[in-house]
Amino acid sequence: MDQQDRNVGTLLVEGSPTPTDPHRLVVAGMARGRALRRRRRAGTAAASLAVLGVLGVGAAVVPLIAASERPGSTGLASDPTSSAPTPSAPTSSSAPSPSPSATPQQGEVRIGVQAVEVPGTVAGIVGRDGAGALRTAPPYTSASGPDTLVAHFSWMGTLTTVVIEPDTGNARRQCEQGGAGSTCSTNAQGDPELRWGPTTGDGVTAQGATVWQQGFEVSALSYNAPDGKDVAPTTAAPPLSLDELARIAGSGVWFE
């Protein structure tokens, strides 16, 4: 870098303002990130789910076959995240690297439902029948495991998703920072409950609920179309109401 380059760099640094409230910016950015993540969970981001799909097929289908051949087996899939690479350290000293999330230890609560059982389980929770088939084609491939469950299925012909992941910590704070259009409260069991939507994106309206319970983050989402984006809606509103989605997310039936 020559002197002129340094001068230009100095000019750009000294001529630009500094943020008045950095913490507020970070909190707002994280809230947007959580909202974005919730929508992507429903399969609207094919790129991120493509990886999940490949692993999910193996995680969901192979163990099922194996389980059917082993009387007495729970049939639970292996953890589909176990092959995820460990993040490496960043080159910047001020930037910590992401770390892999914790998985349940021996003796702790585990997910006791497989993806293929989710549509029927949801029907049981809401007390009415509308469940269709589990989506098995990419990017909606599901995954089952002791600490992760991803199930995309049809409910009255529309896309519905249930995702259970380990709680990454600060559940109450995550709930309260759910972003615009969301409401955080405490449910009857005393767990943080976040409700969001209905929101419309890419021509499709969606709504969902997340409950942090038993060391897990349980999310249920309902769309008003067969897919998460770029398809014609088939119902005026998502067929599962926010109350029903909150009951699904807050149910203890998912765990053993």
Partner: protein, 168 residues
């Protein structure tokens, strides 16, 4: 430390640089804050992804993400929005207001990609090849845009670009 806490720590450490870059790109404090928030949201999603390749250099990833979010937003704006008479930027209350206004005026005359080149080359100190990769253009185009942007800055701040700095 949870992933959320790790991200928050990372974001707080990167905010000054991200905000500076964002302001240099768009020239407006409020748009800059929006740009930073959108960037943090995208990095947050990537940070929490449980599968796939991890972020090797989160700081560089965030800066690249910021520039791409800006370029993408500019394309949408140029399609859907009509320019109106620009309102004067309100003073933020720190630094040298004269310098900031002069810099904002000089940058306003540049095309979005020229501004992006300036930020990536001289604020982030990225080599030409890397800037070309981030912006999806040739190295020759990056050099041309760099020359054009520097000419504009020289017209405002003097041939050596230090005149105004020396008068502060």
């Amino acid at each position: 430390m949870t992933k959320d806490q790790e991200f928050e720590e990372f974001a707080l450490a990167r905010i000054p640089q991200l905000h500076r870059s964002a302001w240099l790109l768009c020239g407006d404090v409020h748009r800059a804050e929006d740009l930073v928030q959108e960037t943090l949201a995208k990095v947050y999603v990537r940070w929490h992804r449980r599968l796939g390749r991890p972020i090797e250099n989160p700081a560089a990833y965030a800066q690249t993400c910021l520039v791409r979010v800006y370029i993408s937003a500019q394309r949408r704006r140029s399609t859907h929005e009509r320019p109106v008479e620009s309102a004067a930027e309100q003073a933020v209350g720190d630094g040298d207001t004269d310098l900031r206004l002069a810099l904002a005026g000089a940058l306003a005359a540049l095309q979005p990609l020229d501004r992006a080149v300036l930020v990536l080359r001289y604020l982030d100190d990225r080599p030409v090849a890397e800037v070309a990769e981030v912006l999806g253009c040739s190295q020759g185009a990056v050099r041309n845009r760099t020359l054009r942007a520097l000419d504009r800055l020289r017209a405002v701040f003097g041939p050596s670009l230090v005149d105004l700095l020396h008068h502060r």
